[in-house]
C-alpha cells in the first residue's frame, strides 16, 4: 500500500516589542537571570495584566500579511496547567475567539536546480492567536533553576491546517513565515534565541484516504534544519512501524537534532484538562476598519511578490533574487542601486551585492545597516565599469576601499590611479596587429567561425598595455583588424 504523510505545524513567533505583553517591564534576550521581571511577571499576589498595544498591532499586521480574517472582537482566556516556568500556572491565551482566522502561507518548493525557481503553493492557516511566553528552566544534575526573563514576552501562535505532505514543504512553510515576519518587522525569528519555535503534528494514511491517521506531536524542532530532518525522520519511523505490521499510538515525541532520533515523552503527568475560561482581568479587543487600514498601510510587499517583481522589472537571475529576497533591507538596497545604476546594469549591481558586498559584510561581521557603501556609490562603480573607465580587476580593489572608507569610486580611482589608461589609439592598434600576427592558429579558428578565439589575442594586448587598456576598445580594435585580415 502507498502511504502519504499529513503534516500540520504550530509555530510560535515571539513578537518584537519593548515591553512584555501584559505588563510594561522590558522584554529582551540574553539578560542576566531574573532581571526582566516585575510583580506582574512573577505573578505576585494582587497583580493584574494590562495589554500591550504594540503586540496587538503586530498580530493584526501578521494576520493582514497572511491574508487572515481579522476578528472584529477577540477575547482573552486562561489556559490552566501547572508548570514551574509558568508563574500564574495559567497562560493568558485566546481559546475560542482568536485574533486571526483563515489565511494562508505561500511556500516555494526546491526547484530542479539551484538556479531554477521551484513550485509555489499556498498552505492554508487555521488561526493565529496571541498569548504570553513562559520562563526558562535550566536543568542541572539534581535540580532545575528557573529564570523568568522570558515570561510574559508576547507570543503569536500560528496554526496551519494539516495540509503539508513532506518535510520539504514544512521547511518551506517555516522559511516563508520567517521571511514574512522579518519583512513585517514583527519578529527577528532567530530560532537560536527561541524567537521562532515549531511543533509538528504528523500522521500517515493510505493514499486516497481522507481521514487523518493517528497523530504524533513532534516537539523541540529548534532549528530550521531540525524541522526538516525531524519531520522526515518521523515520517520514516511511522512508515516503518506500519510496514512492520505495528500500530501507531497517539503520543508526543521529542526530536533530538544532534543524534537524529526521537523519543516518546512518557511523562507521568496526568492528562491535561486546561479548564479554559474568559480572563476576568482583561477586556475584549474590538478591531475596527480604521485600525486595520492604518496597519494595512504599514504592511510591506510580501517576499514572494517582491521576488516576482524583481525578476520581471530588473531581469536579474533567479539565484540572485534568492540571495536578496530573504533580507528585506538587502533587497531594498539592491533596488535602490539598480535604479541609480540605470537600465541594463541591474544584474551587475546584483552581482556586486550578492558576491562582494555580502562577502565583505560577512568577513567584517557587520549588518547591512553598518555598510559604508551607499547605493549611490555602488551604482557609480557599476557605471564606471560599464563605461570602460574601470577594469574588473581594478574595480575589485576600488570596491574593497569603498567598503573600508565609504569614499566614492571616482575619488578612489583618482587617488589610486586605477583608471583604465587613456591609450594612444595608434599604439593600441599596433599591439593588436602584433598579437594577431603572432597567433596564426587562433586567427584560423576565428576565421573558421569560432567566435571565442578572439580572446586569445586579448591577453598579449593587455600585457603590452600593462593591464590598463580599455577592454572594450581592445575588443573593437581586434574585430576591426580581424575583419580586414584575410
Amino acid at each position: 500500500m502507498n502511504y502519504e504523510a499529513v503534516i500540520g505545524l504550530e509555530v510560535h513567533v515571539q513578537i518584537k516589542t519593548h515591553s512584555k505583553v501584559f505588563t510594561r517591564v522590558a522584554a529582551g534576550y540574553g539578560h542576566p537571570p531574573n532581571t526582566l521581571t516585575d510583580p506582574v511577571v512573577l505573578a505576585l499576589p494582587g497583580t493584574l495584566p494590562v495589554m500591550n498595544k504594540a503586540a496587538l498591532d503586530a498580530i493584526i499586521k501578521a494576520g493582514l500579511l497572511l491574508g487572515c480574517d481579522i476578528a472584529p472582537v477577540c477575547k482573552w482566556d486562561r489556559k490552566q496547567y501547572f508548570y514551574p516556568d509558568s508563574p500564574k500556572n495559567y497562560q493568558i491565551s485566546q481559546y475560542d475567539q482568536p485574533m486571526c482566522l483563515n489565511g494562508s502561507v505561500e511556500i516555494e518548493l526546491p526547484g530542479a536546480a539551484r538556479n531554477i525557481m521551484g513550485e509555489h503553493k499556498k498552505i492554508p492557516l487555521t488561526r493565529i492567536h496571541l498569548e504570553e511566553d513562559v520562563g526558562k528552566l535550566n536543568h542541572h544534575a539534581t535540580d532545575s533553576l528557573v529564570d523568568y526573563n522570558r515570561a510574559g514576552t508576547p507570543l503569536m501562535e500560528i496554526v496551519s491546517e494539516p495540509a503539508m505532505h513532506t518535510a520539504e514543504e514544512a521547511f518551506a512553510y517555516l522559511t516563508s513565515i520567517r521571511n514574512t515576519m522579518i519583512y513585517g518587522g514583527i519578529s527577528d525569528c532567530d530560532m537560536e534565541k527561541g524567537q521562532l519555535r515549531c511543533d509538528a503534528n504528523i500522521s500517515i494514511r493510505p493514499v486516497g484516504e481522507t481521514k487523518l491517521g493517528t497523530k504524533v506531536e513532534l516537539k523541540n524542532l529548534n532549528s530550521i534544519s531540525f524541522v526538516r530532518d525531524g519531520i522526515a525522520h518521523e515520517i520514516k519511523r511511522q512508515l516503518a512501524v506500519v510496514a512492520a505490521g505495528g500500530k501507531l499510538i497517539q503520543e508526543t515525541r521529542d526530536y533530538d537534532g544532534q543524534t537524529g532520533t526521537s523519543q516518546s515523552l512518557r511523562s507521568k503527568e496526568m492528562a491535561h484538562d486546561y479548564r479554559y475560561f474568559p480572563d476576568p482581568d482583561l477586556m475584549p479587543v474590538h478591531v475596527d476598519e480604521p485600525w486595520k487600514q492604518k496597519l494595512r498601510a504599514e504592511c510591506p510587499e510580501l517576499p514572494f511578490d517582491k521576488q516576482r517583481r524583481l525578476l520581471a522589472d530588473y531581469q536579474i537571475p533567479y539565484t540572485i533574487t534568492s540571495v536578496l529576497i530573504p533580507d528585506r533591507e538587502l533587497s531594498d538596497y539592491f533596488e535602490a542601486t539598480a535604479k541609480l545604476a540605470g537600465p541594463g546594469r541591474a544584474q551587475a549591481a546584483g552581482n556586486w551585492i550578492a558576491n562582494d558586498l555580502l562577502r565583505e559584510l560577512g568577513a567584517a561581521k557587520l549588518p547591512l545597516s553598518a555598510s559604508k557603501v551607499s547605493p549611490q556609490n555602488l551604482a557609480a562603480l557599476v557605471q564606471l565599469i560599464d563605461a570602460g573607465t574601470l577594469l574588473n580587476a581594478a574595480a575589485k580593489e576600488v570596491f574593497i576601499e569603498m567598503f573600508a572608507t565609504g569614499d566614492t569610486p571616482a575619488v578612489i580611482v583618482a587617488r589610486r590611479g586605477l583608471a583604465a589608461a587613456p591609450t594612444d589609439a595608434g599604439e593600441l592598434e599596433q599591439w593588436c596587429r602584433d598579437s594577431i600576427a603572432a597567433n596564426a592558429k587562433a586567427l584560423a579558428e576565428f576565421k573558421a567561425g569560432k567566435e571565442s578565439a578572439i580572446n586569445a589575442f586579448k591577453g598579449p594586448v593587455m600585457k603590452a598595455a600593462k593591464g590598463k587598456a580599455n577592454p572594450k576598445l581592445v575588443d573593437e580594435t581586434l574585430r576591426r583588424l580581424l575583419a580586414a585580415t584575410n
Partner: protein
C-alpha cells in the same frame, strides 16, 4: 471633647490636626495604645509595626509644620485588610501559604493613601484569601466581635470591622466579593461601602474572584466613608477593569444632594430566614425615609433566589484559577518533603491552604473542568446577566434599594463552621450586588435587644456613590446608632 481620640471620626480629627491642637504622633500613639489594650481580646490584627507607624506620623507632622499638608487624611491612622499590598510589609491573606510573604510593591490604593498622607497602621485579619463570612477561616485564628467577644465580627473583612469598631484604627479598608465589607459593617455597627465594580483599582488586592472583588472603606460615618472613597477612587492604568469616570467630591456632595428619593423595597429580600429583630429595624428605617417624603415602592428582583448558586460557581471558578499561583515555587509556603515538582505543588498547597480555601478551589476546579463548563460556569454567567438585568429594571422605577444587610445579627464563633452551606447563606442579601457590579453600603440602623448591631443596606446605581452616600447620610443625620461604641 469627651469622645476619646481613638473613637473620633476623620471629620472630627482632621480640623484638630490642621489647627495644630493635635499632632499625628499623639493621635497615632492613642490608637496604638488602644490597640494594645484591646487586641488580646479582639484579635483584629495579623501584624503591626509601631515604629513604622510613629515614623509615618512624624513625617505627617513635619509636612503639616512645613505647610504641606495633603488634606484630611494626612496623619490619620488607617488599617488595611491583609489582602492589600504595602511595599515592605507582610501580606498574608490570613493564610499559612503567605505567612512569611513580604510585599515588594504597593497596591494602587496603598499608593493613594500614602499620597494622601495617611498613617498605615497594621495588617487586619480576614477569612483566608477573603473566603468566608466570619473571619474564622484565618490561619491566625478568629477575630472577635467587639460588641460581644463570643461572636463573630462577620467576614471576610472581619479584622477591618472589628479593629475600627474597637477603636484600634480611625478607619479601615476591606474588600468585598460577596458582602465581605457590608456584612461585617452590619455586624459591628459601622458604615461599610462596596463601590461600583471598576471604581477602585484592584491592583495590589490579592484576587479572590476577579470579576466580583472591590476594595472599599469601613468608617464611623458616611462622611468619613466619603472622604476615604474620594482618596482611593479613580481610574488606574494598572487595572484593565478600572473605569474611566469623573470622581466627584463625595464629601461635599453629601451635603448638597438631597432627597426625596424614590426607594425600592425588593420583596425577595424580606422572606424566610430574616431575623425578626433585623426585619423590624429595617422596617423602621424604611418608615423614616417615608416620613422624610421619600416615595417607597415595592420592587421585584425575580432572580434573587439564584444569586447564591451563581455566585458560588463564578467566584469559586475564578478563585481556583487565581489561587493556582500559590504553588510553593516563587514565594509562599513550600513543603519540606516535595520529592518532585508535582509533589511540591500538591503538598505545599495541601499544607498552605485551609479547609474553606481547599473546598472552594475544588468546587471551582470542578465547575470549569471538561464536560461541566457549559452546565455550570457558562450557565452561571448567563444567569448573572439576568440578575444584573433585574437590578437595572428596578432602577427604571427607583433611585436606590433598601434591604437588610445580613439576615441575622452576629452569630457565635464556631456556630456555622461545620456546615459551609449555612455560612454561605449569610451572604444572600449582599451577593446580588457583586454579581451586578453595583455600589452598596451598609449603615447602622439599630441593635437587637441583646445589644447586637443591625445594618441597613442601600443599593445604588452604577458609579453613583455620591447619591448612595447622600441617601445614607440623610438617615445618619437623624439617628445616632453610628455614634455608639462597644463596651470593651
Amino acid at each position: 471633647m469627651s469622645v476619646p481620640l481613638h473613637f473620633q471620626t476623620i471629620a472630627e480629627l482632621a480640623p484638630q490636626l490642621a489647627s495644630g491642637r493635635l499632632s499625628s504622633i499623639e493621635l497615632t500613639q492613642a490608637v496604638i495604645a488602644r490597640t494594645k489594650a484591646v487586641e488580646a481580646r479582639v484579635r483584629a490584627f495579623n501584624s503591626y509595626d509601631e515604629t513604622d507607624a510613629i515614623d509615618q506620623a512624624a513625617a505627617s507632622d513635619a509636612r503639616r509644620a512645613a505647610g504641606q499638608s495633603r488634606g484630611p487624611l494626612d496623619g490619620i491612622p488607617l488599617g488595611l485588610k491583609d489582602v492589600i499590598a504595602v511595599d515592605g510589609q507582610p501580606l498574608t491573606a490570613s493564610s499559612k501559604m503567605l505567612a512569611n510573604f513580604v510585599s515588594p510593591y504597593d497596591a494602587t490604593v496603598t499608593q493613594k493613601l500614602k499620597d494622601a498622607g495617611a498613617v498605615l497602621w497594621g495588617r487586619l485579619n480576614c477569612d483566608e484569601f477573603a473566603m468566608g463570612s466570619s473571619t474564622e477561616n484565618s490561619a491566625f485564628g478568629p477575630t472577635h466581635n467587639p460588641w460581644d467577644l463570643a461572636r463573630t465580627p462577620g467576614g471576610s473583612s472581619g479584622g477591618s470591622a472589628a479593629a475600627l469598631s474597637a477603636g484600634a484604627a480611625i478607619a479601615t479598608l476591606g474588600s468585598d466579593t460577596g458582602g465581605s465589607i457590608r456584612q461585617p459593617a452590619a455586624l459591628c455597627s459601622l458604615v461599610g461601602l462596596k463601590p461600583t465594580y471598576g471604581l477602585i483599582s484592584r491592583y495590589g488586592l490579592i484576587a479572590y474572584a476577579s470579576s466580583l472583588d472591590q476594595i472599599g472603606p469601613f468608617a464611623r460615618s458616611t462622611e468619613d466613608a466619603a472622604i476615604l472613597l474620594g482618596a482611593i477612587a479613580g481610574h488606574d492604568s494598572r487595572d484593565s477593569t478600572s473605569f474611566q469616570t469623573e470622581i466627584p467630591d463625595y464629601r461635599a456632595e453629601l451635603k448638597t444632594r438631597r432627597g426625596p428619593w424614590k426607594l425600592g423595597i425588593p420583596r425577595e429580600y424580606f422572606g424566610e430566614g430574616l431575623d425578626p429583630e433585623v426585619g423590624a429595624a429595617v422596617e423602621k428605617a424604611i418608615a423614616f425615609y417615608r416620613a422624610q417624603g421619600c416615595e417607597i415602592r415595592e420592587v421585584s428582583l425575580p432572580h434573587t433566589r439564584y444569586c447564591l448558586d451563581t455566585y458560588y460557581i463564578i467566584a469559586t471558578a475564578e478563585a481556583s484559577s487565581n489561587l493556582a499561583r500559590f504553588d510553593g515555587i516563587r514565594y509562599g509556603h513550600r513543603s519540606k518533603d516535595g520529592k518532585d515538582v508535582l509533589d511540591v505543588y500538591q503538598k505545599s498547597r495541601a499544607e498552605g491552604f485551609g479547609d474553606e480555601v481547599k473546598r472552594r478551589i475544588i468546587l471551582g476546579t470542578y465547575v470549569l473542568s471538561s464536560g461541566y463548563y457549559d452546565a455550570y460556569y457558562l450557565r452561571a454567567q448567563k444567569v448573572r446577566t439576568l440578575i444584573r438585568q433585574d437590578f437595572l429594571n428596578a432602577y427604571r422605577e427607583v433611585d436606590a434599594l433598601i434591604t437588610p444587610t445580613s439576615p441575622i445579627p452576629a452569630f457565635k464563633l464556631g456556630e456555622k463552621s461545620a456546615d459551609p452551606l449555612t455560612m454561605y447563606l449569610c451572604d444572600i442579601y449582599t451577593i446580588g450586588v457583586n454579581l451586578a457590579g453595583l455600589p452598596a453600603l451598609s449603615l447602622p440602623c439599630g441593635f437587637t435587644k441583646s445589644g447586637l448591631p443591625i445594618g441597613l443596606q442601600l443599593i445604588g446605581q452604577p458609579f453613583r456613590e455620591a447619591d448612595l452616600l447622600a441617601t445614607a447620610h440623610a438617615y445618619e443625620q437623624a439617628h445616632d446608632w453610628h455614634r455608639r461604641t462597644p463596651n470593651l
